[in-house]
Every structure is written in structure tokens, then in C-alpha cells.
């Protein structure tokens, strides 16, 4: 028995060691990237005016957080993205459900969905701004538009892939179409919908940042464009760093929600 125990501890130790190796490599890459950037900027290997440097970015971020200006921009963009993400996902699921509910409706809508899906949604930006005015509404709409069509198509095809025998069982009890949806089709598709959440996080960021590029007086997208126009690339880089951190955080949170949902709906 003792032998089994030792084998197991050896296995666990090995796992731990592997994790440590991976983590140290990850840190090594990060640190060498930052230091290489810093050194090349200091030594004028790259133009510090264009590519800035980690210390400048840190200082600039520090300053902007102290006077609170970064926080306003950050919260505006975050608010727009989260809203665009939620509306896009829920909207996509609702449209997919209505397509599922009527075969004829889905066949009528098919060519339109194909065109809308193939179309780069950000190209609609100017029209949206003209229609909805330069403000939150336009930008949230952009965040929503980028994710809604692909959500619709993915969820709809997942609805159709549900084993028809589940519906057969329900129909043998005299279930209505709505009961079939509620009892079989929707719960069976839930994993697809949840994994769609992760895709949509990224998509909504695209929509919102592009929206802010086009029109806005606030937000991280605005900061990037403003920094570009006044040739303050430290500001551009700082905004990019913040976007990267926020997007990664949002992704992680959605991943948590996903795990929780899967555990609780089984």
C-alpha cells in the first residue's frame, strides 16, 4: 500500500513541477518582452516617439488614474461593451428562437441572414451614427450588431441539431411546439449558447472600440484616436494596455459564469 502512496505523491509532485515550469516560462516571456521594449526605446533602436516605452506608459497611466480621467473613459467603454454584449447575446438567442418556431419564417429570412452575416458590421458605423446620433446609443448598437447575427446563426443551427427523438417523446405526450422548445430544444442547446458568450465578449469589444473611433468624446477608443491625432503614442499604448486587461478580465468572468451554469443546469 505504501508503494501506491509514494507513486501518487510522486505523480502529484510532477504535476506541480510542470505547472511551475509553465508559469516561469510565461513570466519570462512577459518580462523579456517588456525589458526588450524598454531597452530598445532607451537605446533608440526603435523610435520612442512612436513606440513609447513601458516606463512612460506606466507613468502616464499612473497620472491619469490619479486625476481620475482614465477611470471615466474606462467605465464608459466598459459599460458600452457589457451592454452591447448582453443585448447581442440575448437578441441573437431570441431571433434564433423565432426562426426555429416557424420553418417558413426561417426560410424567408435565410438570404437576409446570409447577407448580414457576410457583411462587415463595422462598415455600417456611419449609417448607425446618422440614424441614432453621436452618443452611447450608436456605440452600444455597434457592439450589439457585431455579435447578434453570428449568435443567431450559431444558436439556430444548434437548435436544429437537437436529436429529433426528444421531440418525438414529448409529442407522444401531446406537447405543443412551445413545450418542445422549453423542455428539450433550449436546454439541449444551452452549452452552445454559453460557449457563444465567450465569442461575443471579443466581438463586442471590436464593435464598441470601432464605434468610439468613429464618434465619441469619451472612452478608450476615443483615447486611442485622440492620442493618434496629437501624436501622443504613449496615450495610445496605455489605452491598449487597459483594453487588453479589461477584455481578459471579462473573458475570465464569462468563463466563471460558464462553469457555474454548466454545474447548475447539468
Amino acid at each position: 500500500m505504501k508503494n501506491d502512496e509514494t507513486l501518487f505523491t510522486a505523480y502529484q509532485k510532477n504535476l506541480k513541477r510542470e505547472r511551475k515550469i509553465i508559469l516561469s516560462w510565461q513570466l519570462l516571456i512577459l518580462i523579456s518582452f517588456i525589458s526588450l521594449w524598454e531597452v530598445s526605446s532607451k537605446m533608440y533602436w526603435i523610435d520612442p516617439l512612436l513606440f513609447s516605452s513601458p516606463t512612460r506608459i506606466t507613468l502616464s497611466l499612473f497620472e491619469r488614474f490619479i486625476n481620475g480621467s482614465m477611470f471615466t473613459h474606462l467605465s464608459v467603454t466598459l459599460f458600452e461593451t457589457i451592454l452591447g454584449f448582453i443585448i447581442g447575446t440575448i437578441g441573437g438567442v431570441i431571433i434564433a428562437s423565432s426562426l426555429w418556431s416557424s420553418n417558413r419564417f426561417s426560410r424567408i429570412m435565410d438570404p437576409y441572414l446570409v447577407v448580414l452575416n457576410a457583411m462587415p458590421k463595422v462598415a455600417l458605423g456611419p449609417i448607425i451614427i446618422v440614424a441614432l446620433g453621436p452618443g452611447y446609443l450608436s456605440i452600444i448598437t455597434m457592439g450589439f450588431l457585431v455579435s447578434v447575427i453570428i449568435t443567431t446563426l450559431t444558436v439556430y443551427s444548434a437548435f436544429n441539431e437537437v436529436d429529433p427523438n426528444y421531440e418525438k417523446v414529448l409529442k407522444s405526450f401531446g406537447a405543443t411546439k412551445w413545450q418542445c422548445f422549453k423542455e428539450a430544444v433550449f436546454p439541449a442547446t444551452l452549452p452552445t449558447i454559453i460557449s457563444m458568450l465567450k465569442v461575443n465578449v471579443g466581438l463586442s469589444w471590436v464593435g464598441v472600440i470601432v464605434g468610439e473611433y468613429l464618434v465619441s468624446k469619451q472612452g478608450l477608443g476615443y483615447l486611442i484616436i485622440y492620442g493618434f491625432q496629437v501624436f501622443d503614442f504613449t496615450l495610445v499604448m496605455s489605452s491598449l494596455v487597459i483594453i487588453a486587461i479589461l477584455a481578459a478580465m471579462m473573458y475570465k468572468i464569462v468563463e466563471r459564469i460558464e462553469r457555474w451554469l454548466i454545474k447548475n443546469t447539468k
Partner: protein, 261 residues
């Protein structure tokens, strides 16, 4: 007294580029409490007959009546059991068993006791809160049986419900179904391609021919075999005699098909 009647039922499947006639002139009656088997090669339209009786789709010609009323008017008359259990993996065993009452708004809560009782009767006590993935194939099919029986259907439609199980489980489940149907005095139609299973379980066997599906011949199962449990029937001397007769009939069909094509 005839209970369920199929009167010259035909069915076509239509496709973009043509159609196939799946059933032609199917007529038979099922008496109350009777157990009929539909026996035939795959693709002879056996399952189509069940789908029509259950109202999943409508036949293109002919009539199906239950107690002299069109089958579509009589609600709740049919319990359908499929080849696989199709338990909903996200529901517990108990909620799976209570699916019927939930759909028909029969107040799920009042049926809870009945469900637990039925589960116990099929030898599944203490699994009510488990999920289908935690159960073996035979257990899952027994849950499916409970799910079918709980709405107290007048007729059970069994679409090869034992074919996906291993042999021992299959024999045990045949016994269980046979016993339950006798106790509750239910009528049933079993679709199968297993001659032994058909003899062991039914009172009457309808052998089907294919392309299009027709009823070729009807065999009465000897009275001595009818009241025995399926496992006992298989040991009875008359079992083999009937088996050979049906075998010969099916062989004959095969030969005819070979000649005509």
C-alpha cells in the same frame, strides 16, 4: 370487440424528386388487453405504423380509429417507447419519469408518489434524484418504461425498445414489461425484427412484407404460451414450432424478393 382499428391505411413519403410508398393497405384490429407484434425486415414500415397510430404524423390514406373515434380525437391514449431511452440528460430520473404529467398539466406534484411507486415496481428504488448518465442502459430503459406508463395510456407502442440492450438485460426487461402489461391489462403493439421476442411477448404476430409495407401473414400464438412470462415461453416446446413456421415465412418472402428484383 375491436379497440384500435386500422382500416386500409397507406402512407407515402414525399421528397423533392419523388416519393416512396411506405405502407399499402394496412388493416388490422387490436383488442383490449391484446399484445400484437409487427415482425419484419428493416425498412418495411413497421415504425411508420407506430408513428401514425401515435399521431406523430397523419397517414396519406385510410382511417385509424380508437373505440370507433378517429385516433386524433382521443387524447392520452398512447404511450410510446422508443428504441433508445431518450431520457433528458439534464433532468433527474424523477423529473424524467414525470415528464408526461408535466406536459399534460396533470399537476406534477400529485403524480410524484405514483412515479416513485412505479420506479420501485420496476426495481429502481433510490435513484430518483440521480441523473440518467449515472444509470446503466437497462436501468435507463426501465425509467423510460415508467415515463411511458405514468400517464396510464390505453395502448403502448413499443418500437424495438429492447434492441439496444445486451441479451441478458433484454430478457429480463421483456419479462418485466410482459408482467406489467398483464397486471395493468394494457394493449400493446411491439415492433421488432426478433422472431423470438415476438413469440415470447405477444398474442398475435403480424409478419410484414416490404416495398411497400404490407401485412403478409398473421400468426396466432398458442394459448399455452400467452400467459407465460417471455423467458418461460422460450423454453416451451411449442415455441420452437412457431419459430420455425415464422422463419419459413420470412425465408419465403426473401426468396420472392430475390426473384422479383
Amino acid at each position: 370487440m375491436s379497440f384500435l382499428t386500422l382500416d386500409r391505411v397507406s402512407h407515402h413519403y414525399f421528397y423533392k424528386n419523388g416519393y416512396t410508398k411506405a405502407l399499402e393497405n394496412i388493416s388490422f384490429t387490436l383488442k383490449e388487453g391484446e399484445f400484437i407484434s409487427l415482425l419484419g425486415p428493416s425498412g418495411c414500415g413497421k415504425s411508420t405504423i407506430l408513428s401514425i397510430i401515435s399521431g406523430l404524423f397523419k397517414q396519406t390514406e385510410g382511417h385509424v380509429t380508437l373505440e370507433n373515434k378517429p385516433i386524433t380525437e382521443s387524447k392520452l391514449a398512447i404511450g410510446y417507447m422508443l428504441q433508445q431511452d431518450y431520457l433528458f440528460p439534464w433532468k433527474t430520473i424523477l423529473s424524467n419519469a414525470l415528464l408526461g404529467p408535466k406536459i399534460t398539466n396533470n399537476n406534477e406534484d400529485s403524480m410524484r408518489q405514483t412515479a416513485l411507486q412505479l420506479l420501485e415496481e420496476v426495481g429502481l428504488s433510490g435513484v430518483a434524484d440521480k441523473y440518467p448518465t449515472e444509470l446503466s442502459g437497462g436501468m435507463r430503459q426501465r425509467v423510460a418504461l415508467v415515463r411511458t406508463l405514468i400517464n396510464d395510456p390505453k395502448i403502448l407502442l413499443l418500437d424495438e425498445p429492447f434492441s439496444a440492450l445486451d441479451y441478458q438485460t433484454k430478457l429480463k426487461l421483456e419479462d418485466l414489461v410482459g408482467k406489467l402489461l398483464k397486471t395493468y391489462h394494457k394493449s400493446a403493439i411491439l415492433v421488432t425484427h426478433d422472431i423470438g421476442e415476438a413469440i415470447a411477448m405477444s398474442d398475435r404476430i403480424l409478419v410484414m412484407g416490404s416495398n411497400p409495407g404490407t401485412i403478409a401473414k398473421s400468426f396466432e400464438v398458442p394459448i399455452e404460451l400467452r400467459n407465460q412470462l417471455p423467458l418461460e415461453v422460450r423454453k416451451h416446446p411449442k415455441y420452437q414450432i412457431l419459430f420455425d413456421k415464422i422463419w419459413a415465412e420470412l425465408e419465403e418472402k426473401e426468396k420472392q424478393k430475390g426473384r422479383s428484383s
